[in-house]
Symmetry: C2
Subunit: 349 residues, 2 copies
DNA sequence: GTGAAAGCGCTAACAC
DNA sequence: GTGTTAGCGCTTTCAC
């Protein structure tokens, strides 16, 4: 009854365990961290007590003591966007497997918020920070932010999915050019020549690259470039896709590349409302291959990144940096094309 | 040049600030926490130094010292599901506003994983835990899990979105009955009598309640109950919706209630493939009102929970419990009906 | 109003 | 192998 009570209320520490086991706290710590040999019988006794009291070492104390918190901070633009959610979960799984915890912050599109989040992660003494989306997506890295990160990186290494010119961040990037090649070759192979590119903004690095590659591919296949088929001065959402497609209809594209699945959904809506069918009248393809691609009708042909592998790569890079290892500062994620129902042969012009 | 160097490299502490300010660490701590009066000039001097070095107090040390980490642990089934993502972000925003950090863990559908996550949060010494989805959704609370939580709650209070019979958890629940009433009244008002209910499992509390209410509403409006119009022995995803609807078609429902937006998407697919139109031939409505409702064509009529308010309520309850306040152990979230394009009048039978 | 000192729970030399 | 001791960086009595 007495031990029962103890068991129930107070938070126990390694001292409590040590005392009852008749050893010192250091010994308990040793079995906890497996950092040195302990006589089997004592080890056994200690394990039993840990079990008995369901003892869990205080991560705060541990982090304080050895100056590594074993947590990875992650900043994403918005987990409500399945692209980020997929990537975050992949990171969480990979981190957990390595004995790390992930701490997620959403910047929710407020770029100035990002600096605050960086500071919060610093307060939490995360061992390394992974930033996905936000200012690391910018074609022109923000001066102030770069300064902030440079300073921060004296203490905490960073891994980003985009870039931050002038910093020593490790970059793990999606190959936007390759992604676009896949899409363009798929469409051109289906005899499309009037290919529109809709959604996103040219101030975003990956979007810029996609547009560049789009033009190169046209040139490569001797297809005339028509500026009116490009609409990349907006957002990445449904509404923008819808609005832009409404205007694009007049230019009679035979195929449309959407900057992501959200935008594709808006484009699909517009096409359907104009009484056209996908893919019989217009083909529609997109980047990201989130579950949205699977939920729409017709299902979208889309570019996949293998989120699990992407997350693993990010975490591996992060842990490498945290350990002070010399790792490659630039790594690429290889995209692949998932063909579904939304793309088909071009109709004869 | 010298101070510059210091500034750049080592992590500074309250002692460094104290030393340079010519005061004791205690005084710096006082201005940091605003816990006592400090002579204005010193305060000023300290603030300047904090600014100069961009000093951030070590949250681990702080948490160790005052035994409150100021972090809220959140366990969700899967943030890749927009329902959880919406709720999580709402919690994060509310928590941040209160000076708290949130630590998110995904159980990813492995119920036995939940106990592990609970322990992990315990290690991190979170002040309180919010669990959304998973075992707290069960109609019959799992015995083992209940024991685990009961024990845990001697130290860390918990808030759940479902229930955990036998524990002292604070329950913040969606009113599933009210949700169903709204849906049923909407459909019945449109003259539907052959209303199907598809998706989910009866072993889940909220689904069970929805089914009960469904029957009550039929009775209330003198509509005969047809068991074949119910399919609630599956999952909550697209595939289940699709498969179930394929079978349901034969029973000629004039309207279908989907257990959530994912399921609704699958149902929509099936209906369309059968050459039927929504809502002209069949009406389709759902619970949750995630962005999926807006992305599908036609847009879904769905039940909304006001995620922002829901998150606030959860966090408020959590902070209340963490502070040891006596708060209501059962709170309801009021649903509302969002009418869009997927529901319309019943065709004459 | 402010400093000294103890303590939060753990890890890591350092002895023996 | 194992105990002793000294921190890790902060908060908080307790004096003065």
């Amino acid at each position: 009854m007495d031990t029962q009570k103890q068991n129930e209320s107070k938070v126990i520490t390694i001292y409590d365990i040590a005392k009852e086991a008749g050893v010192s706290a250091a010994t308990v710590s040793r079995v906890l961290t497996n950092s040195a040999n302990v006589r089997p019988e004592k080890k056994e006794r200690i394990h039993r007590l840990i079990e008995k009291y369901n003892f869990k070492p205080n991560a705060l104390a541990r982090g304080l003591s050895d100056t590594r918190s074993k947590v990875i901070g992650i900043i994403v633009a918005d987990v409500r966007n399945p692209f980020y959610a997929d990537l975050f979960v992949a990171c969480e799984v990979a981190a957990r497997k390595a004995g790390y915890t992930v701490l997620l912050f959403n910047s929710l599109g407020e770029t100035q918020q990002e600096e605050k989040l960086l500071e919060k992660l610093q307060e939490q003494r995360v061992d390394v920070i992974i930033q996905v989306g936000g200012r690391v997506d910018d074609l022109q890295s923000n001066k102030e932010y770069v300064e902030k990160v440079k300073h921060l990186m004296n203490t905490i290494p960073m891994v980003v999915t985009g870039k931050l010119d002038g910093t020593d961040c490790c970059q793990v990037r999606i190959d936007a050019t390759k992604s676009t090649e896949l899409l363009m070759e798929h469409l051109i192979g289906l005899n499309h020549t009037r290919i529109a590119l809709i959604g996103g903004s040219m101030s975003v690095q990956s979007t810029y690259e996609k547009c560049q590659c789009y033009k190169q591919m046209l040139a490569k296949y001797n297809i005339p470039f028509r500026p009116e088929l490009i609409a990349q001065d907006g957002f990445y959402n449904f509404e923008n896709g819808y609005d832009r497609m409404n205007k694009m209809i007049a230019h009679k594209p035979s195929a449309v590349i959407a900057i992501n699945d959200f935008t594709a959904a808006g484009i699909m809506r517009s096409i359907t409302e104009h009484g056209l069918r996908i893919p019989q009248d217009i083909s529609l393809v997109s980047y990201d291959n989130t579950f949205i691609s699977n939920v729409l009708a017709p299902k979208l042909t889309s570019i996949d990144y293998n989120y699990e592998a992407f997350g693993k790569k990010l975490v591996k890079a992060a842990l490498g940096m945290a350990a002070g290892k010399e790792i490659s500062r630039m790594q690429m994620v290889t995209p692949s094309l998932i063909i579904r129902e939304s793309s088909g042969p071009a109709v004869n012009p």
